[in-house]
Symmetry: C2
């Protein structure tokens, strides 16, 4: 462990957690679990040129590397607590590390999350973060509980990150709407509070990292059900609708990755109260379809016809 690099991040993240009995600087950290909770753990990696464009600002990478992991905790309904960071860098660039640390710490501080371990190595820019959170036994949201008849909902809006990515690749635009979509790639908001609010209400939950079709497909597989989605109901931002035509924005909303919204299922009688709760949290929750018998995800257009789908989402090694 190279202390100087990790220390720059540690100094910016929470020091005050009394459950961190021994933090960075020894062979392992020592952590105290709150009694009566289960530990939720996840790990995610971002590679330059694969998960983010070469030249992405360090401050955005620091934020996003943590955000995509917090999104996994959000999808489980877990409260974030601790993180580990493995950062591989082409060279010891203090400005990069400081920027990365700033972005990481901005998000970590919002959750009083402590960085408790890290490793920096030399190589292609690659960032792995492992996160740890707490959830009461039996209360976690999983992908496996969706029931036929449940309503499918998503937080926020879908397709923004895919639209933003296309704008970045095209280059040129820098107005407020373009900036909004691009920000959605670089600074995704993990829906932690929404995940906590869904505990005890959602029958299944996942975060939309690979695209709605792929991720709702995981719920269907795990729950042994199918889903029917209505394209007209997909929540899309005004920026996306203004900058792209209906078919494109719909494709982005169905198949674009990197939105980090939550897709979840709720028994019909609880939908109204869940929507009220999530509106109060600021992200809202839109009904987009329902769980049916069968398997896989079908999408219907405004006339009720089943759409032919080209993209089923993002897979780093192909289908």
């Amino acid at each position: 462990m190279e202390f100087s690099l990790i220390d720059r991040i540690r100094q910016r993240t929470a020091q005050g957690r009394d459950d961190v009995r021994l933090g960075i600087g020894d062979d392992a950290a020592l952590l105290a679990m709150p009694p009566g909770q289960e530990l939720a753990v996840a790990i995610d990696t971002m590679v330059e040129g694969v998960h983010f464009p070469i030249g992405t600002a360090a401050v955005d990478l620091g934020w996003k590397a943590l955000a995509v992991n917090l999104s996994d905790l959000a999808a489980m309904g877990a409260t974030p607590a601790w993180a580990l960071l493995a950062l591989t860098l082409p060279n010891a660039d203090a400005a990069f590390v400081d920027g990365f640390a700033d972005g990481f710490a901005q998000l970590a501080q919002a959750y009083r999350l402590a960085l408790v371990g890290g490793d920096t190595t030399r190589g292609t820019l690659t960032i792995s973060v492992a996160v740890h959170g707490f959830v009461p036994p039996g209360k976690a949201l999983t992908r496996a509980g969706a029931q036929v008849g449940d309503v499918v909902l998503v937080t926020g809006t879908l397709g923004d990150a895919a639209g933003g990515l296309q704008l970045v690749q095209r280059g040129g635009r820098s107005d407020a709407q373009a900036s909004y979509l691009i920000q959605r790639i670089h600074r995704p908001t993990p829906r932690v509070a929404a995940g906590l609010a869904l505990r005890g209400h959602a029958s299944a939950c996942i975060d939309v990292s690979d695209g709605l079709l792929a991720d709702l497909g995981h719920i269907c597989t795990s729950s042994h059900v199918g889903a029917e989605i209505e394209a007209a109901l997909l929540p899309r931002s005004s920026a996306l609708l203004d900058l792209f035509d209906d078919a494109t924005s719909c494709d982005f909303a169905l198949s674009g990755g990197d939105d980090y919204e939550l897709c979840f299922t709720v028994p019909p009688q609880h939908v109204a109260s869940v929507q009220t709760d999530l509106a109060r949290l600021g992200c809202g929750a839109a009904r987009i379809g329902r769980i049916v018998e069968g398997r896989g995800v079908n999408v219907r257009d405004r006339e009720g016809r089943q759409l032919e789908l080209v993209h089923q989402g993002w897979d780093h090694f192909g289908a």
Copy 2:
């Protein structure tokens, strides 16, 4: 998370742990901590061409990626329990993944360690593993407890991995002694049982990953003490002594990384019983010096002269 690749590993690792409430396949794993224990966590990354030569066998990489992390738990006196794996690969190579899985699983099974989460991505071959273990509160071994007058010991033998690396780089030899040293690079043995046996006896402990001087130096820094090492006491294998001259093998033992032995300090009155315990575990423990006032590590030769040291150990970003 790409299920097919991670699944190949998961299928080979422990399924029977009842503390894994929800394993691989959801957004996060759910784990139950044993009551009255603290959680020890560490993360380490290995990059092709930096931490291992290009062309290293996949089975060795799988073993070693876990071994270097278990070594961190060993140095804390923690019992291994769970691991997360982030594997970045240039392409979806089933033979590589199977080999990697075999090596990882061989070592995991020895400790009933469960792989509870993973992520595979495309890029330069990079492996990050995070490990989790248990230790009773207040019983962990740290780097910070060494006292003036304590004896410095190491398990096993030092310098073998550095010797093996030189043999690999030279090419050619394939006799039993060369194979032994090369095996010590590729299949390090984490000293988990030794670490557990040292709880309550060692005043400080670290694993020798960066080289004895660097790692004992970390104990000195954390404990606000110095150390004096006698070169003649450095435990060296017969293979190392047969294949390299005394000065070279001594340099390897002092500065070579990757041995993953434990270096620890013990009050004089407990040395004999500790040595008996560790002899019973098969690795043994050699006295190599003592803790003194001051700072840093000094090395004395057979005549009591202080050695001039060129290398202070391994640092991926230079001094």
